[in-house]
Symmetry: C2
Subunit: 226 residues, 2 copies
DNA sequence: AAATCATAAAAAATCGATATTTTTTGTGCA
DNA sequence: TGCACAAAAAATATCGATTTTTTATGATTT
């Protein structure tokens, strides 16, 4: 009997069309290639992602609970619209979860945890330096490494469920940012934030780290043109 | 064009077999009728809930993101097992979310909010009184009204996403409690907690209300026997 | 004439049956 | 006991049928 019940919160969908569709659609929604408010028609998605109806609908169903897709019975699926109220809600919820997790991490984090942060920051820094030269090419990459850096900061928090929720609102926040800028546009202030947050965190200065992180999360997206 | 994109976090699955299956399975998992660690075989569930493969799998997919079902690619679905670590994780996450939401509610709640709390408490009190006489008959009802009472307490919190996450961990916490007791067994201390929490909340004594709520959430389930 | 309502046609979502693929179980052999 | 292979079971995916919603059209009312 090698069929063990997996731990809660597990979602191993490797090697299935469901998994492929799930990841692809998730990626496209976060990147705002599937635009906020857009109707997700099954027939269209089938040709776009090259899978049948069933795996497609199952992937969409999974995304519903993550808030990246909304469903109405017998009416189909949509990309949820982006509104100011929702964005503020997402930002403040992210502040609550992420500052708690950062405090907890600073309290119990070990050498291994510190090393992961330094490594993630290094990778992030690389893209940030490259961003000035070729913004378009490094934009998507920046978001991914930004996510990994923030995850590393709070990885020592023992509450797995809280981290899971943080992941969800992070993705949602990511999407609102990306949908608000037509062209890649990242403030150098954001980059500076990262350095300061890391320094305060490694110095175990919880109060300062949390304050910096709050400002960082609340920082509004750069206006499109300048 | 009456097809409007619904707000994020919406899940209206009315009148679909998916919705029926989703609610039924969710209910049975929380009530531990589908037991922790149990394999969820599609063929069995089809006869049990009287629906076909497609709506069944979609319902299960939705439950995966809520943590009430786990999935392994090509291996199928399980009811997640209950472990001590997971339970502590769930409890502490619930404390973080629910105390924040209670504080926020006390800060901004209006008359309407207060009325809902009093009403929910009244309904809950009724079942709690009935519980002494017929525990088996009022057990499931108690859980539902308990949930409604706790939701009423924090309903004025403006962060919809935080409330949504609270709902998820509440259900998970509910399940761990129910799976730990073979026979209905609720402590009178729990009932007393409710009264005190309500009083402190309506008195707008945030510090006291939060302290009581923390103790209440952390209170372990009654041991099965006496 | 404009607006409302009913009806029909088209489109789309939903569902179940069947075929395919993968995993699990069972059996014989080294 | 361990391994290879075959059989069975189970999950997954595709397809087509059914149901529901949406759109289009025309008649009726104000």
């Amino acid at each position: 009997m090698s069929s063990e019940a997996p731990r809660p919160g597990t979602s191993d969908h490797s090697n299935t069309l469901i998994g492929k569709a799930f990841e692809s659609i998730r990626k496209d929604i976060i990147a705002s290639e599937l635009k906020p408010g857009e109707k997700l028609r099954i027939a269209q998605l089938r040709t776009r992602y090259g899978v049948g109806t069933s795996p497609l609908r199952e992937a969409l169903s999974r995304l519903v609970s993550e808030g990246l897709v909304t469903a109405r019975g017998q009416r189909g699926f949509w990309v949820p619209p982006v509104s100011v109220e929702d964005s503020e809600d997402i930002v403040e919820t992210r502040v609550v979860l992420e500052t708690y997790a950062l405090r907890a991490s600073i309290k119990v984090g070990d050498d291994e945890w510190e090393g992961q942060i330094v490594g993630a920051y290094h990778n992030l820094r690389r893209v940030e330096q490259r961003f000035a030269d070729e913004p378009a090419g490094s934009f998507a990459e920046w978001w991914e490494r930004n996510r990994l850096f923030h995850e590393a900061l709070i990885a020592a928090c023992p509450l797995k469920w809280l981290l899971r929720f943080q992941h969800i609102v992070f993705d949602l926040h990511n999407r609102t940012h990306r949908s608000s800028m037509q062209t890649p546009n990242l403030s150098p202030d954001l980059f500076e934030d990262h350095r300061l947050i890391m320094e305060a965190t490694l110095a175990r200065d919880a109060r300062k780290a949390v304050e910096l992180l709050e400002h960082h999360i609340r920082r509004p997206p750069e206006p499109a043109g300048e």
